[in-house]
Each structure stands twice: as C-alpha cells, then as structure tokens.
Symmetry: C2
Subunit: 456 residues, 2 copies
Amino acid sequence: MTVEVQQDRLTEYISSIRPTYEAKLKELVDLPSVSMDPEHNKDIRRTAELAAALLKSLGATSEIIETKGQPVVIGEFKVGPDYPTVLVYNHLDVQPADINEWKSPPFEMKLEGDKYLGRGTTDDKGPALSVLYAAKYAFDQKIPVNIKFVWELEEEIGSPSFYDFLKANKDKLKTDSVVVSDTIWISKDQPAVSFGLRGLQPFLVQLTTGAKDVHSGETGGLARNPITEMASFIAECVDGKTGKVKIPGFYDKVREVDIDELEGYVKSGFDIEHFRTARDLHSLRTKDVRDAVNRVWTQPTFEVHGITGGYNGPGVKTIVPHKAEAKISMRLVPDQEPEEIIKLFTAFVKEKLPDAVVEAKSGLKPYLGPREGKFPDAARKAFQLAFNKEAVFVREGGSIGAVVTMQELLGAPIMFLGLSLPEHGYHAINENFDWGQASSGIKLFVHYFKLLSDIH
Amino acid sequence: MTVEVQQDRLTEYISSIRPTYEAKLKELVDLPSVSMDPEHNKDIRRTAELAAALLKSLGATSEIIETKGQPVVIGEFKVGPDYPTVLVYNHLDVQPADINEWKSPPFEMKLEGDKYLGRGTTDDKGPALSVLYAAKYAFDQKIPVNIKFVWELEEEIGSPSFYDFLKANKDKLKTDSVVVSDTIWISKDQPAVSFGLRGLQPFLVQLTTGAKDVHSGETGGLARNPITEMASFIAECVDGKTGKVKIPGFYDKVREVDIDELEGYVKSGFDIEHFRTARDLHSLRTKDVRDAVNRVWTQPTFEVHGITGGYNGPGVKTIVPHKAEAKISMRLVPDQEPEEIIKLFTAFVKEKLPDAVVEAKSGLKPYLGPREGKFPDAARKAFQLAFNKEAVFVREGGSIGAVVTMQELLGAPIMFLGLSLPEHGYHAINENFDWGQASSGIKLFVHYFKLLSDIH
C-alpha cells in the first residue's frame, strides 16, 4: 500500500479546513484550562470532553483516562496492525494569564487577520489542532500509518501524574515512534528540531544556628551568621560570575558534544543579542555564540533561586539571623543522573556545612534523542516539503518530564516537530499563533506521516 | 566645702524613698513611650511632661527641649559655678512590647515583692529614677557638685535628633564629666563598667542583571545569576565560618588591645555557655573565653542581615533572578572610622562587582573611654561602697549613638554606671527591675557624686 501525497489536493484540503480549524481553536482557547489553579478544574474537564468529542467527530477513537490528577485524552486513527504506528503528544492545559496585562481578554480568542490571539494558541492548542487535522487528512487519504494521540492536561505543572498514567496504559499506547509538537523555532525563518532536553535536580539547603535572630552589636563576631556561611558555601559550589560549578565530580558524567553537533548549533541562527533583549537582560555571561549555545543547551548549571532567612524589609536591621535557606537547582545534561547528583551534592553539603539540612526535590533526567537516522531524516524532509526550509537540530535548555517518561516506558524514538515561533510569546502576555504556521504545520505533519509509513 | 556621706542617714533616706520611687516608676512605666511607633507620640509627650514635673518637684530646674523628632528633657540640681558638674544621661523611651507574649500587661507595672515587672523598668526608667533620687539626696546634703540631666526620648531608634539637640544646647550642658546609666552587668554578682562601644557602618549592595526573572531552563548558564554573584562577593568579603573579614585593609586601623585589658575581660566572669543559652543559639564560633570576649568587644565584624531578590515562597521555583540585594553592616572598633570604611568597601564592591550599586547608610563611630584615672577610680570606689563588689571594666559590642555625640560635642570623660542585670530582660519579654539594684543604685550614685566633688 503506497499512497503519495498529492500537493494540490492537500492545499485544497487545508484551505477548506481553515474555518473549522479556527472555530475549534477558539472553542479550546475560550476554555481557561489553567492547570496551576485548582479553580479551573472544571475548565480542564470541559477541555478533555471537547477534545475527546473532536477526535470522535473526525473518525478517530477517543477515551478520557482518569489519573490521580487531571485526566489524559487518548485517541487513534486506526489503519491496521500491519502498519507502523506513531504516537502524537500535545498538551491542552495552559499557563495562567492576567487579563489586566493583555491587550485583549486572554481566554476569548481573537482573530486578527491571520493571527490568533489568546492563551494557549501557540502553547499548545494551535499545534495540537494542526497535527489533528493532518492526521484526519492522512487517515482519509489512507496513508498507511496508525496515529495515536496523547493529550495531557498537566504539562504546565510538570506532569505529576504522567508516569503512572503511561505505565498503566503502556500496551494501549505501544508505538514505533513518538512525535511531540510543543517546541519553538530558532527564529521565524529557521525551523528547529529539538533532540535534547536538560534534566533538573532541585534542592533546599537549610542552616539553622539558633532559635531566633539576635542583636548584631551584642553578639556579632561570636554568634554564627547562617547567611554568610551559606554565601561561603554557595561560593564553594559555583563561581558566581562564570557559572562554573566547583563541586568535585560534578562534570564527570557530562558527555562530550561532538564538533559536528556544536557546529550545527553555531550555524543554527541562534542570535545572542536577540536572546538577551527578548528577555530584558542587561548582560550575559558571554558574547561568543559557540560559548552561548553550549551554556544553554549542552552544559549543566548550578542556580540559586533565592535565599530566605534574616531581615528582608526596607533598610538595614542589624540582626544576626538564626537561619538561612538556599533554594537551589541544577540543570543536568547527558549522562548526569539525578540520583547521582543527589548523592554528590548531599555529601558536599555534609563536608562543607555539616549542620545544614539538605532536601532533594523530585528530579528530571536529561534527554537526548537521535539526530541521525530514519526518523530525523523524515523530519528534515517533511520540514523541507512543508516550509521549503532546512530544519536545524538543536537542544532545549529546559526539561519536559513527559518526554523522559515516554522514552523510558515506550522505548520508541521521539521527534520534536514544533510550530511555535519566538514571537508567539510562550508563557508570556499576548500569546498568539498564526494561520501561516498552522497551515504549513498541517502540511508538515501530512508529509511526516507519509514518510513514516515508508519506514516500515 | 567638704561633706561626707553618712551611711546611716543614706540608708534611712533610701528606705523612706521606696514608696515614692515605686509610685513614680509605675507612673513612668504605665506610659507606653514606644519611640518606634508614631502612634505613641502622645505617650512620649506625656512622659516628657511627667519627667520635667518630677525634676521640678524635687528642686531641680527642668525644661522640655523640642527637636526635629521627639523632645529631650533637661534639668539641673545647681550648687554653684565654682563646683564641678556632672551630666547624667538616661533615656525614657522604650522598646515595643507584645501584650500576648507577656505574663502581665507590659504597660501596667506590676509589683511582685521586690520585683518590678513592665516594659522600661530596667531599660531605662528604673535606673533613671535611681540616679534622680541619688541626685536629690546629694543636693539636699549639699554635696558640692552640679548635677545636670539629659533624658532622651529617641534612644531606641538610634538617637536621630540627638546630635542637633546637643549642638544647639552645648553651652547649657557644659560639664566636667558624663555618666550614662544604661548598661548591663556581666552577671548578677559582677558589676561592670563599660568603657568602649563598637561603631557601625551599614550598607545596601544591589545587583540588577535584568528587568525580570527568567526561566532557568531556557536561559540558565547564559543568563547571569545575581544571587550567586552576590554569594561569591560576600565570600570574598568574609569567611562565613570564622567571621574573618577578607577585605584588604579592613583591619589596618584596629587598635591593639593590651594584655592587661584582655586579661581583665577573661577574668570578668564572661560566661560563654550562659551567653549562648540566654540567646537560644545552637553553637558559637568559639569555645575559648579569650577569643569570645575579643570577638564581641574588641574586634570588628562583617554581617549580612538578609539577601532579597529571587524566589522566597515555599519549594523551589526554577527562575534565574534578575536582582539581589544584600543588607550588610560592619561593627567597627577604635580606630576604624565609618568614613574610611565607606571608602574601602565602596572601592571593593567596584572592583569585585562592578555593576552593583552600594548605598552607605549613616554610620556610628566606635567609642573608647578611659579605664584608668580619676573618673574610673571614682566609679570603682563607688561600686565597692554601694555593692561591696569590685566592678570590672569591659566593653560593649553594640553602639550607642548618643555617647559618641556627647564625647564629640561635650569633650568630657564618660562613665557607664549601669544597674541592669542580664536576667532583667533588656528588649525582651517580661522585662523587669528590682529594688535590690534600684536601692543599691541610689547608694552607688550618691557615692559617685560625692567622689566627683573631690575631683575638682
């Protein structure tokens, strides 16, 4: 069974589907499925029901799977057991949005020409619908690939129920490969396929030297100061200026990045000045692009997010504080393992600050997928066919818990085919998406599904 | 004119005055003269009026002097221009008190046998009245010494108006010596005369690296982290564990303590374990008494009181903060000058954290008075006569702004004849004073005034 993608027919389909795409996107965006806020539990539930109904209306199976947290919607366009299967991952929950900061209400999608304005348009409801309508077309055109869907509703809170969900539904979700559409291009003109994510290991370090703050005149010099001890400790962990981690052994497991990969990053169009201004940062740790891409994509970090304890009001209150807590996390890269980092850091605290208490929060493993081979080649070809541009293969500095879980439990290669642009405002005010990316996105996925059907 | 102190008559006077002393102390304590809280401005005013009336009723002159802040009450028992003059300093404002924490209402003085319970009983209303009734006796007995009073009402907020007040009233307050009764003995059995105070120089150091917090996954490694930079900077300023200041030149002006003085401290009865437990501290920087007394009395410090910026809520929020502010102060010892320390530290910040902003708050000079000579000898003798105990000469770790001002503007030796005991609870809940200290205090001051009349 070989079915070619007929360009004219696909173009016609995409045009004809536009009003439906926009109406369904509006229905989804108008539901404030904010997973961070329990007040929106009902909206999350309605979103799940709407999504399940949509799958069914297009000819797919669908099911709402309950978890200990929010439900997960799954579905499938079934062709048959003899054909390859791809599992599509998107999420339909969104970040919070403050209506006062937006130029139009975030949960009433506004159509401005080709532009869709509203929370969730680009992250990740718009891309989810592009994949869905591509799958519907592929199914109708009898492209021989089974397309499964996993629509999560807890991605924005770190996927707390995803592992248990996937473990319980592993057989149902068996697949030859996974595609995730939830990443951002390097720039408007530069499609990017992420194939690596950093891991994360957070810690709380608390040092208590007394039961209450004391007077720095009466006691200063003799009383221990937990904040200066914590500062000295942090300075032993990391060089504040360069960010170089000083904990012995910390870099031991960091896999070397080959010259090829690195050259790819340097040529990826990563713009250091755009990176800086887009985030309102005054200066960065480097002005060298090679150094910069390494810093955010291939190197681990040691960050202090805050230090509590002592006096935090206006002016200077001359007390010696009785406790200090540092909120710390490290981004990890292959082959650093959260468990090993916990051991290493806990021992380091024990050595340097013997009476401090370390609490390790739950960590995320780093992820590295293939950038060469059949699936990456299919992704490259699909981008070329849909956007007439070559996609660069890059990494992401952040962590997506669900990805590592899928890698572990499904054992299938994962490809990141994202449609979002930096100017779409991920997690920001006035988030938006556009028909240009949505429509070419449909094309991208139709081609990708076709190419997958050939990898049998 | 030579008048001897007749022990019997003095003892009789002290007994007879007790009901008056207690009634007046209650009147004063029942007025919540909390200088930190503008809501108590009326109580401060009433306290000034009560104090001025009391001076007048005992035969002294009295006057309420207005300042840009709270008023100062001054008065005098005048003997004549040919006789020596002593100026007595006390303060009649008090620390705040939370009624829920106290065993009886803090602003309704309670008499429990020989004990007076209430805010201000020991700091500093009780001692102020002991000096007053001693002065009244000395005056009635025609002891040839002019006794001037300065009762401040802003001591607990750092004497912000005292310099201007004293400058404007310098001639009126001309004196041969000053006595301050606002310090604490080493222990119940060990009277102490403080002859040194540390100075203070507070700073705010602020480092801003962006306009808002950013995501530590997306930006971590490339974005600067102002908290880790601040921690590294603090670690360059001070060894967190030992407290040793590492800023080059910081100790240059520290005057060496002679072996005699140090031996005096070691023998002063300073109890390191009592120091620790009284303040609910888990451990101290040393277990050696010699080291301990040096640390609180003769050595300067570098403290961080708090670090703001970043995330301070529960758990770990993985942001890279965009600013950090360290609240810092240094206690100074002779001959360190606040102005020089400002220059030194500002230059150090400039060198180590070039884009940080340093703000120096108003500083206090360290103070060192005489511990040998006519006035210290008189103090020793008076303690011996009143308490039958030898007073030790020690320093104080804290700073009293008014003392440095008096030293500068009055140019007269200052002696600290305190009556408070550690168990009286300076600044603490259930503050108290007792008739034992109050009555022997009256004796102390009568003897001291008599001894001063001989130093002509």
